[in-house]
Symmetry: C2
């Protein structure tokens, strides 16, 4: 995949031209979506999240979708201020129902991260700002994930205008709680797997980003994450270090000792057995990294420092995507404020997580972690109480970047951007990917629209007009290539 590929081009130019022609309307559609502050984490804005669901329903109706449903998910579980707070509905809809065609489910979310002008935004976050000089659209949700969501609608509109039939049956699944833990989504997907989603052949998600700022990517892997805590408990209450220092076994001393045995300064995990589970790197896989557009300088720019553990692109990408890592996040219960406090904390909870990759088995990893930490604690001969536990886990995901769906997306990308996309993985997790794969038993494709510098969860979130419009072309082209595959 590192060289340019040849393939039989489909006659998609009329579709691309129509999308260009509709550009002003598409920008207006995104503007309307951004104007609804559908912040899922803010209970007071819950009516706006519901308003956004209704906005999508109206759009789907206008475009000719059928079987449109608002799936209610019940009340939001605690902690909530309003015990009767309803979860926002999941919006389902179909476009086409032809048994001769393949069915593609597209997932997106219509809720957004919080945003206040005072956070440092240059313009009002919920009033789309179109910078016509730079050709950039600013606004909360522009890239995450309203741009991609309305992008799918734009594709339908372009087909309608052209009078073209859609090459596949499309099922949309738009949720309103993605930024708040996707509450209720797993249950809904499981429930609808044999119902609304019964004939789905493929799931396509546009909710991640290019690795950099210039080259399109398709994403075929995500690391998993097992998050642990070590709890060490000594005295009945926090004590004064003047009175008790030197005469009782301090939980912090034990915890720091144990935490120091987990990872070394080069990032190597010190828990025996973890690397034995990691799939060996094949030559073929190694070569995948050669052509990818990335550099140490890009990492340094992203981290705002010169602290890279590796001096070349390939090692960085491999350690981000296909090797495990262990991060020490912090300690609950210890003194964490500014200044000086002479406390002996009574109970401290050390937090760390391991990013997992093929072929690490989650349960076996837990066993190795528990064994190692228990053994290290025992070495201390401490009278303190000790416990280590998993807080949550989520498996890694890797797909086949050579399957029909990826191949179709690669062709569409090359049609639109004139370049072979990079095939990337991501270091973080997108749990819904695994849910769809598991519950529907089909392949998942991550087909990003925005760039690596869009600031998805940050201030001044943006989507370049070229990414938005070419993104719509790519989504549309993808459906055609996939329909023919």
């Amino acid at each position: 995949m590192s060289t340019s590929t040849t393939y039989e081009k489909l006659p998609l130019q009329p579709l691309f031209d129509t999308i260009e022609e509709l550009k002003p309307k598409f920008i207006e559609r995104l503007q309307k979506a951004i104007a609804i502050p559908s912040v899922s984490s803010d209970e007071s804005l819950r009516p706006k999240v519901v308003e956004m669901a209704n906005f999508l329903v109206d759009e789907l109706k206008t475009l000719g979708f059928t079987d449109i449903q608002l799936k209610e998910l019940g009340t939001q579980p605690p902690p909530v201020q309003d015990a009767n707070l309803q979860l926002p509905p999941i919006v389902l809809g179909r476009f086409g129902n032809d048994p001769a065609k393949k069915t593609v489910l597209v997932y997106g979310h219509y809720d957004v991260q919080p945003a206040l002008k005072d956070d440092g935004w240059k313009t009002e976050p919920f009033t789309m700002h179109y910078d016509k000089e730079k050709e950039i659209l600013y606004g909360r949700g522009s890239t995450d994930d309203k741009g991609p969501v309305v992008g799918w609608l734009n594709v339908i509109e372009a087909h309608n205008k052209l009078g073209w039939e859609l090459p596949v049956n499309l099922v949309v699944c738009f949720e309103g709680m993605e930024e708040s833990g996707s509450l209720g989504l797993d249950e809904l997907v499981a429930k609808e797997a044999q119902n609304y989603f019964k004939k789905v052949d493929q799931v396509t998600i546009s909710d991640n980003y290019w690795l950099g700022t210039t080259k399109p990517v398709l994403t075929y892997g995500l690391r998993g994450c097992n998050y642990y805590q070590i709890i060490i408990e000594g005295p009945g209450a926090d004590l004064h270090s003047g009175i008790f220092g030197g005469i009782i076994a301090e939980p912090m001393t034990d915890l720091i000792k144990v935490m120091s045995t987990l990872v070394d300064g080069s990032g190597k995990i010190l828990i025996p057995g973890v690397y034995d589970m990691v799939a060996p790197l094949t030559d073929k896989e190694d070569q995948l990294y050669d052509s990818i557009d990335f550099s140490v300088e890009e990492l340094n720019a992203a981290s705002g420092s010169q602290t890279s553990l590796h001096d070349n692109k390939k090692d960085i990408l491999k350690h981000r995507w296909r090797f495990p890592s262990l991060s020490l996040h912090g300690i609950e219960g210890a003194f964490s404020g500014a200044g000086a406090k002479t406390v002996i904390p009574a109970k401290v909870v050390g937090k760390f997580s391991i990013r997992t990759v093929p072929d690490i088995e989650s349960k076996k990893l837990d066993d190795l972690v528990f064994q190692h930490i228990t053994s290290e604690f025992k070495k201390l001969n401490s009278p303190n109480k000790f416990k280590v536990e998993l807080i949550h886990d989520g498996n890694y995901w890797v797909s086949d970047p050579f399957n029909d769906s990826f191949t179709a997306a690669a062709k569409a990308t090359q049609d639109v951007w004139n370049v072979v996309p990079d095939f990337t993985r991501e270091g973080g997790s997108i749990p819904i990917t695994l849910t769809f794969e598991k519950e529907l038993g089909v392949d998942v494709l991550l087909l990003p629209m925005g760039r690596g510098d869009d600031g998805a969860h940050s201030i001044n979130e943006k989507l370049d007009v070229s990414n938005y419009i070419n993104g719509c072309k790519t989504l549309g082209g993808y459906l055609h290539y996939y329909g023919k595959a």
Copy 2:
């Protein structure tokens, strides 16, 4: 000092009888003092702190003190909400000015810790509750430090009632910011050393507690405290462990490694050279610990756990009082909340302190700490930025428990309690002790009134009536024995 001592008793029974007789009045005086919520850390209660100063001035006037002065200390330095907030005044007064007599300065503080009924108090904290069955006085400030402060006034009142002359000249110095860092006190003591405090021969402080609950003590030593922080800084902002885990050098990894080299699970300090500075334990000193009333069980009761590092009384007391200790207090900048957060903290600050004892030189200790930590950080070969610094230090203090003042206090204690007091040290620091010793060039005696379970900074603070009344007798008797010494 471990056996009962014989000495020439002074005819103090009339004084002790008079104090008994005045008991209802003395309890009423303490009740009035407790009723003024003189919380120095609460800016909104600052007028109450000043009211408490004026209450003392009125009492001093009534009792016949002279040269009464309210020493203003100016505005309180930041951080404050009210930039014009005035520090509470220091109350000075004299009783007697006879060149033939020795002059004793008594220090106390009239401010208190915060207290709210909702914190878990059984009765209103600022309404003294007299439990007549248990003979206990409950209320904020009862033992810390309003009981001892009005105790000195009670001694004068008893002398006045008897028509007795005071055996010494008394100077009182009552401050109103002790619970908030004694702001302004050091400067005042330095300034008045050759003025108001010029003829002072001895400083006596009643602001600590018995070691346990049954045996009176005199305190001749305190540990010092050097508080340090290790600052490790990597990326420009907090990062996501999914994206950056495994590819950058994480500051937490470095910090935990360095902190793990400071102290071991048995409480032993691992920084080379620290123990070389500790004064050797002599046989004579070792014997001092034999008779002291304490046990492993008492430590366990106090810590609310079975986590003692030592299995016998003597080792516990030595490690509390005369050996250094190192406590890891916490980490600023890391994740410290409940639950799971997949953050790589950008800048973390590890906090720890060392309790110091004779003959540790503070500056030399700093050097050893800085050298050790710098060397441990260098071993990591980390690209992160590193700094170690002292936040604050305060020297240890040890007096001669055989000097005139201690001997006088021991005789008075035996007169009142019929037992030889334990001679104790404390693990914590009382910085004003060192200030008086240094600025006035005289001995300091710590002569506690309350018991180890009074809950000085806790809810349901109390002072037993027997400690209050016998405490007044002890203070009075002490002045007589010291006057004759």
